[in-house]
Symmetry: C2
Subunit: 221 residues, 2 copies
DNA sequence: CATTGAATTTAGTTGCGGCTAATTTCTTTT
DNA sequence: AAAAGAAATTAGCCGCAACTAAATTCAATG
């Protein structure tokens, strides 16, 4: 009993939306760019397969089995992303688009070979944790760059890969995992952050800063 | 207008069957393991897309466009096969099975990167020609090992990848592209060939020998 | 507590790529 | 030249995953 590509994409989407509480039909439909009735129909199929539990009119939740499968697909995605950037030299955004397809057809054998070739990485190129073969995944408690107040010394840990365009831009200006960032000041009224990225001054908007996760080194600049 | 995986597999199958003359519905159905009416239905769709010409009750032929697409898929397949064996170390049979899926999702970008990483190979691991980006492919005029009479000195050029099990066995006994083979004698009645593969004596059946293509070095052993 | 509006589900349709059963067409045999 | 047989096509169906339009349910508001 192997799952269709659609099945897998739904499970992955539910997993990613799960942080905001129970996953609503609408949130799922929005994320997958399908009409709400399509999401309802798929939810019922997944519930029949015992991969999710569905409380009609309230929302959907992954079962243990469902979560395990979601994590397996995410592992595939992130390993492929890492492989495509590290070994074949693709750009982050390109690698993400490719991985969206490859994640569904990667065999366990090739997964293992890629993992070995990369030295069993624990993070993908943009800092997201790669689940283990057993379906374990690191939980990060990093801060969003949009939440800092000014004066901090930070290190970038992860940038969200939801937006391909943003991803490309972040890489260009060096806002990548490992980069050191000093926050000069946050101008709330203007919605801007005055940053120093690896010594380079930059003015950055609050909106995209929501997608950059940082760790605070110290607050005494 | 991009073609579905099924569309692509049909075009590839028609291309591979084309050598035996016009491609019949049955041959196509057999190869793709579908029922004849399924093949008829798909043939009509491909004809509507001008990728094949269909003469009802007689058979189907690729158009220029159709052949070009078939060759592109075959290029993908053989590049991936080569990449998986050379770079990731998969076995031939495993690589072939994987390539059957990868061929449909390989982007031009990744295709180019793999091609470069491999040094633009012209042959896949089992000796089949890799079509160029422009859709050109080398025409081989090699002999089947089943056609030799005895006494020849041969060099293996290609082994067919139609049968995964056979492919694995051939590799084991060293009947691979580049191997030197001396034919001691062919016993027609028994359907056996007495070979020396790189110095090692082997008795080989005529049936599998049909899938091994050789070049004759000389006939004066 | 009745009303209203948004979210969700149900009902019914579509395209794709399979299938079986029935029919048609071509070829071979008598 | 008719009949038989094999191959191909047509007719009608199914599961999947999408869609729109209509009905239902829940929550918020007056
Ligand atoms: Mn990603
Ligand atoms: Mn995907
Ligand atoms: Mn092959
Ligand atoms: Mn294929």
């Amino acid at each position: 009993m192997s799952l269709s590509e659609a099945n897998q994409d739904y499970l992955k989407a539910i997993y990613k939306l799960r942080a905001h509480g129970t996953v609503t039909t609408q949130a799922l439909a929005d994320r997958l760019k399908v009409a709400p009735p399509s999401a309802t129909a798929m939810i019922k199929k997944l519930a029949a397969l015992q991969l999710v539990t569905h409380t009609p009119y309230y929302g959907v939740q992954l079962t243990q089995t469902g979560e395990k499968i979601a994590l397996e697909i995410i592992r595939h995605h992130r390993l492929v992303e890492t492989y495509l950037t590290e070994v074949l030299g693709l750009g982050w955004d390109q690698a993400h688009i490719e991985a969206e397809r490859w994640e569904h057809i990667l065999s366990e054998e090739v997964e293992a070979r890629m993992d070995a070739a990369l030295g069993s990485p624990t993070r993908d190129p943009h800092g997201a944790a790669i689940p283990t073969l057993n379906g374990e995944i690191a939980v990060d408690d990093w801060t969003r760059l949009s939440e800092v107040s000014g004066g901090e010394n930070l290190i970038v840990r992860r940038v969200s890969d939801e937006n391909a365009e943003l991803l490309g831009h972040l890489r260009e200006i060096g806002l990548v995992p490992g980069a050191h960032v000093a926050v000069q000041r946050a101008v709330g009224a203007e919605g801007t952050l005055h940053l120093e990225i690896e010594g380079q001054a930059h003015v950055f908007g609050i909106a995209p800063a929501r997608f950059v996760y940082v760790e605070t080194l110290d607050e005494t600049l």
